[in-house]
């Protein structure tokens, strides 16, 4: 990577975070408030109204929602990242992977804030930190690879196939319900439960709960498979983006 490309990625991430913070009166506070409000809504519906909660339902829900919210926002914004910069890529040559990468970094920064809040909350809720908490780092690395892989893939193909954006919106809606964010997948009867275990998002969500709430070790083999598979996906998507740069600049869609 050239020095200038790295400078673009870093400065643009800073600029976008700053501009986003300046667009509203309370600015940075929204990074905390937005996920908190999102979580409160789900807590109110499923924890209070439906009385679904076992006693640990709240931390269970918040871990799932925090991870999902980050995953979904990153994938969704990446799919539109190159199109959103169409004016720019017609004026000056910039390696196109820069745009989704900025999205990944900006969302990553916000996710770190959410994670800190989450950890503090879990502690205050009465969950004693164990050595397993350290393993959450590896679960999160695997989740990061998965998120970036899927996000880059859609970043590469959506500018050429705009219909993909609608497909993705609905696909993510379905995935949300199939990833066990607000219910425990183990309650689902076989053979469906077996099918759902092939969902990598469900796997990382479950593993994060294992290490943070249940004092369990994550399923290393599946985490490794997700991480490795995602790295391949990242590489393929980057190749696809590089190969199609000229097409993105020419596209009028």
């Amino acid at each position: 990577m050239k020095r200038r490309t790295l400078d673009i990625i870093l400065y643009r991430t800073y600029a976008e975070l700053k501009s986003e913070a300046q667009r509203t009166y309370i600015g940075v506070l929204w990074w905390i408030l937005e996920p908190v409000v999102f979580m409160l809504i789900f807590y109110f519906i499923f924890g209070v109204l439906f009385q679904r909660g076992t006693e640990d339902f709240v931390p269970f829900l918040l871990i799932g929602l925090a991870l999902w919210h980050w995953f979904q926002a990153t994938v969704m914004q990446c799919s539109g990242a190159i199109s959103a910069n169409r004016g720019l890529i017609q004026q000056v040559y910039v390696p196109n992977y820069v745009f989704p990468t900025v999205v990944v970094l900006a969302n990553g920064a916000k996710f770190v804030v959410v994670l800190v809040i989450l950890f503090v909350f879990l502690y205050l809720w009465g969950i004693t930190p164990t050595w397993h908490w350290l393993e959450s780092f590896l679960v999160l690395v695997s989740a990061l690879c998965l998120t970036v892989g899927i996000a880059y893939l859609f970043a590469a193909i959506t500018p050429l196939l705009p219909d993909m954006k609608l497909l993705l919106q609905n696909g993510l809606r379905g995935l949300f319900f199939l990833s066990g964010i607000f219910f425990d997948l183990s309650r689902i009867p076989e053979p469906y439960a077996g099918w759902l275990r092939w969902n990598p998002v469900a796997t990382v969500v479950d593993d994060l709960r294992n290490v943070l709430m249940r004092e369990q070790t994550p399923a290393w083999d599946s985490l490794l498979a997700i991480g490795g598979g995602s790295l391949v996906l990242i590489f393929l998507s980057l190749t696809l983006m590089r190969h199609n740069e000229s097409r993105y600049a020419k596209s009028t869609l």
Binding site: D7, I8, R12, A15, K250
Partner: protein, 243 residues
């Protein structure tokens, strides 16, 4: 001798725009914006590009800038910064002028360090003074244009591609920006200039490339190409007025 190597060399390049449609709904649509263009650009020279509207001039500049790759033919670009003179590249509305100037400079090819070093000159030239720390969403169109021009001027690459006149802003700044562009063109910079203004081309360019329907018709000194072009346009004017 390396000094005589061209900085850009294009041979027989063609560029095709196609719009993918689903089968049975519309098929594939093709449009060749460039069909057969060839010429070389040497270090330090100013090359004019002339041709009627829709002859492919803007597409040609995009190929030279590396924004789109030709679908056929061959382009060789030296390992230096070759880019379009473009204003307000990557400006973000809610970001202050200062940060936008840095961001835009980096996008135009500077490193962050170089951008920071040139920042005082950019701010001075833009005449924005205290407004530089206000978000550009509060700027008038003229203020934004001034900042955009100052960045483009101080981040000017080794090989500059100019599409039409880029004088901007109010009357005083127009004079100043036009003078700044002329200064770049007459300096050691290599410049490729697209313009409809034949007088400007005659004054500033060492050589002229005439393209027509995506093909090079002639590449030579202005004294030879421009009269032929004018003659050709007059002929065309007569034949169309007869229709």
């Amino acid at each position: 001798m390396s000094s005589t190597n061209p900085v850009i060399s294009v041979s027989n390049i063609g560029v095709c725009f196609s719009r993918f449609r689903l089968p049975f709904v519309g098929g594939r649509r093709h449009y060749w914006a460039l069909t057969d263009v060839s010429f070389d650009v040497y270090p330090g020279e100013t090359v004019g590009v002339i041709g009627r509207n829709a002859s492919g001039k803007t597409t040609l500049l995009k190929v030279l800038a590396g924004i789109i790759a030709p679908d056929r033919g061959d382009i060789r670009r030296a390992e230096i910064n070759i880019s379009l003179l473009s204003l307000q590249v990557g400006f973000i509305p809610h970001l202050p002028g200062r940060e936008n100037a840095i961001l835009s400079s980096i996008l135009l090819g500077l490193t962050k360090q170089e951008a920071l070093a040139r920042l005082p000159a950019i701010i001075e030239f833009s005449e924005l003074e205290d407004f530089i720390d206000e978000p550009i969403s509060v700027y008038s169109a003229g203020m934004r244009a001034r900042l955009g021009f100052s960045v483009a001027y101080y981040a000017a690459p080794e090989v500059l591609l100019i599409d039409e006149s880029l004088a901007v802003g109010d009357q005083d700044f127009r004079v100043k920006s036009a003078a700044a562009i002329r200064e770049i063109i007459t300096s050691n910079h290599t410049v490729i200039l697209v313009s409809h203004d034949l007088d400007t081309i005659r004054q500033l360019c060492d050589r002229v490339v005439w393209i027509e329907k995506g093909e090079t018709v002639a590449v030579d000194v202005p004294e030879k190409v421009i009269p032929d072009y004018q003659h050709h346009e007059r002929q065309r004017g007569i034949s169309t007025s007869r229709d």
